[in-house]
């Protein structure tokens, strides 16, 4: 399941819902991404995530489907927020459930690596005490992590 939304979510409830109807799930891996207070050594006031409605959902469904093909998963969840977020806010959650813990862990890592680098979002950062803001540039480090998965 994928959800692209502005509003916050409840990780405990999401994890519960993901496993509640399947007693053969042995492992549930998850990752939650949060807005960090410091970015480029500057104190963040807010971060705005812009996205391409429609294309975002399409790409998230495609990558989830790829994970479901690649690993024996019983359930998966991707939630991604957009809009204006503050330090400490949740941005993204990935959860994968499987009877095998390695499948859950690997697919969770695969999905969050992809989301952090390939998901169609653009980040605008505003810093405390400064009027200007900055569109974040992609880092080559992150792109390489996704390449690691592609070459498998």
């Amino acid at each position: 399941m994928i959800r692209v939304q502005h509003q916050d979510f409840d990780p405990g409830k999401e994890l519960q819902d993901l496993t509640s109807n399947n007693k053969n799930i042995g492992g549930l891996a998850s990752f939650i991404g949060l807005v960090r207070e410091f970015s480029n050594d500057q104190k963040l006031d807010s971060m705005t995530l812009e996205h391409y409605p429609g294309m975002t959902e399409k790409m998230l469904l495609a990558i989830e489907s790829q994970a479901l093909n690649q690993w024996p998963l019983d359930a998966s969840l991707i939630i991604h927020r957009y809009g204006c977020l503050n330090p400490g806010d949740r941005i993204v959650m990935v959860a994968t459930a499987s009877s095998h813990r390695q499948a859950a862990l690997e697919s969770c890592t695969f999905l969050i690596d992809w989301l952090k680098t390939e998901a169609p979002f653009w980040k605008l950062e505003k810093y405390k005490g400064i009027e200007t803001y900055e569109w974040v540039k992609p880092t080559s480090k992150d792109t390489q992590k996704t390449k690691r998965w592609k070459s498998r």
Binding site: A119, W122, L124, D142
Partner: protein
């Protein structure tokens, strides 16, 4: 044809989206960019460095030489920064 702009490209062109009718000599994304840029300096400015521009045709990433049709949805945006 629907054209969408995101992030700083949206800021530079000053709008989120527009509807245009494709003239026949515009066959590829490249042609479209050239035509857009010729309209006003703010467009030319947004597309001045194409290394910083990405395009999606009907919600699929595409190359600039991709052929386009009148009912396509074309989106221009900077390289994605991920979530």
């Amino acid at each position: 044809m629907k054209i969408l702009y995101f992030a700083w490209i949206r800021e530079k062109v000053g709008c989120e989206s527009e509807e245009i009718s494709l003239s026949e000599e515009i066959e590829t994304v490249n042609d479209l960019i050239e035509w857009i840029s010729s309209r006003e300096p703010k467009y030319a400015n947004a597309f001045s460095d194409l290394r910083a521009v990405r395009v999606a045709v009907n919600m699929e990433f595409a190359q600039f030489d991709k052929r386009i049709k009148n009912n396509d949805e074309i989106a221009f945006f900077p390289p994605i920064t991920g979530g």
